[in-house]
Symmetry: C2
Subunit: 338 residues, 2 copies
């Protein structure tokens, strides 16, 4: 990017103002608030070249400037390096996050809620997911003569259950016996390991093993853990969504179970925050929006994602450090649960 220093200043002013007011920024406004002692006419000259470079457009001939996707990208890169939350803000978020004692699920949900209220957009936090999930403990509990509940405790304090039914009477004693055998044999094993080392001395053991593999496999299959999505209302209150058809378009996407999966984040890792702006989104309904997203957790072991979805004109200077900060808090605290 070969922008003169002054052009950079002007571009930043345009983006800042536009983020604030959601109105095309006039050259006079820029002149007033850029701090440089130059007239609107000069600004207009510079703006003209910014337009040639592809950083701004005008909604119509004699309107002020609005940033292009490219400008947001440039801006977000800048902000990602520099912006930090004030320690007061950090403390606030930290204190809010402490307000629930309970389970990781509630806690992550709370994190999403706090984040969404803080940045006034939609926030997503997923449960951390193990690279390979391993069996920690199995319980078999008889529901009635012909059905039992399989309770699987996985590492990361994750619990799965499944009802299996039988074509014959199966007693709690039978179940307990099998549970003990399986616990002894499969503790700490992954789905693949269970598959290769099947015990299968009895029909019941076979059935239970199948159920275990089922559960482990379906857990491994999904790209992310269960998502907590909060603040739809926050996002849709933004002026970008004053037209109800844009709202409906987004809701249509979110109605799909798998919309999070379809977000393309080729090299998402916990080292770096990803910022996907406008047209970069593969999903059409998101092409007027931006996504700020980061991995948290223990790389290679248990990782989840935390992110914010909002209009392209979101407050990156607040959102980016917020996601960064919360992802680091989550990463630190997650060890408690694993």
């Amino acid at each position: 990017m070969s922008l003169a220093p002054r052009q950079k200043v002007i571009l930043k002013v345009i983006i800042d103002r536009y983020i604030l007011d959601v109105v095309p920024v006039a050259s006079k406004t820029i002149a007033d608030s850029c701090g440089l002692k130059i007239s609107p006419a000069t600004i207009r000259n510079e703006v003209a070249s910014l337009e040639v470079e592809g950083y701004i457009t005008h909604p119509h001939h004699s309107a002020g400037s609005i940033p292009t996707d490219e400008a947001y990208r440039h801006y977000a890169r800048l902000v990602a390096e520099r912006s930090q939350l004030s320690s007061a803000e950090q403390l606030l978020l930290y204190q809010l996050l402490r307000s629930t004692g309970g389970e990781i699920e509630q806690w992550l949900k709370l994190a999403a809620t706090i984040l969404s209220r803080f940045v006034h957009n939609l926030a997503v936090v997923t449960l951390p997911k193990m690279a390979q999930c391993r069996l920690k403990h199995l319980d078999l509990i008889s529901l009635h003569d012909f059905a039992a509940l399989v309770v699987l405790v996985l590492y990361e304090a994750n619990i799965k259950k499944q009802v299996i039914s039988f074509n014959r009477r199966v007693s709690q004693d039978d179940l307990t016996r099998v549970a003990n055998r399986i616990n002894a044999a499969y503790i700490g094993k992954t789905s693949i390991e269970v598959t290769t080392e099947k015990l299968e001395n009895s029909l019941l053991e076979k059935e239970v093993t199948k159920s275990i593999i089922d559960i482990l496999d379906s857990e491994n299959k999904s790209k992310y853990g269960r998502p907590y999505i909060e603040g739809l209302y926050q996002m849709l209150s933004q002026p970008e969504f004053s037209n109800s058809s844009t709202i409906v378009r987004v809701l249509e996407l979110m109605d799909r179970e798998d919309w999070l999966q379809s977000i393309s984040c080729p090299n998402l890792n916990s080292e770096r925050i990803e910022i996907i702006i406008g047209q970069e989104n593969t999903e059409e309904a998101l092409q007027d929006l931006s996504l700020v997203i980061r991995q948290y957790g223990i790389p290679g072991s248990a990782t989840g994602i935390i992110g914010v979805l909002g209009p392209k004109r979101m407050d990156y200077a607040k959102t980016i450090p917020s996601v960064n900060y919360l992802s680091s808090v989550l990463s630190k605290s997650i060890t408690k649960y694993i």
Copy 2:
């Protein structure tokens, strides 16, 4: 209600047309489609008295008729008694519901999705909730030296978990011993019974018991089980929500965790469907909407609710029997899981 037969016919035509077209119904339209051989002028006379009786209004002086809340109530009462799904529709819903094998959670979620797509509005299904939940099985699993996972299996195949941490080392052996003692003592007990018959011979037992009571109490506290809410998109695509501020008002309500709790259904029981129309809603954001809701499950034991939320002008003739039918299917199938 003292409406002449012909007035009833006219009122029904008005409601039917308005539900279909969402446009005030003109006297000529009524005359054309009511089947009676009377002129628009006569219709207008009748409509005038319907207005006096409070069943219709006009958005402005020279506009057609639109039904009042009262008219919808009248109509819904009628429909509730008469309408039934065709057996083809019943079969369709039934088949769709069979398409997931798994757990009750997925199954209820599927039910909500199917219902919402069928009636094109928002559907809610809650997990069934026991009148008093009872302990079925306890597991204590060590996470590390200073923390353990409490896994509580309740009746109705409901599993709860909680992490408890210790200020000293606690081994899996310690945990197993306590779990065995507690299982022996508390199986089938409610929170109150556990409270009155405390064992508490050791600190660990005390801590675990507290956790159990915590979990049982918080489970008892809520009015309904966890809700599955599907089809927001379906509802908000309706023409009533073409104004984005009405959308935002509803979303604001739904952002609140407890909005379902606040719905006043004084005498909700599984015998009868409840239809709450417009102003009858205590929640202000719902006063332009209607709620069709019914209990399902086993009265006095495990009950949940199933319902549809949509504009007052919803298709009651389809919605009411759909909710009725699905509630009966859920009631029948729920026994499998308990």
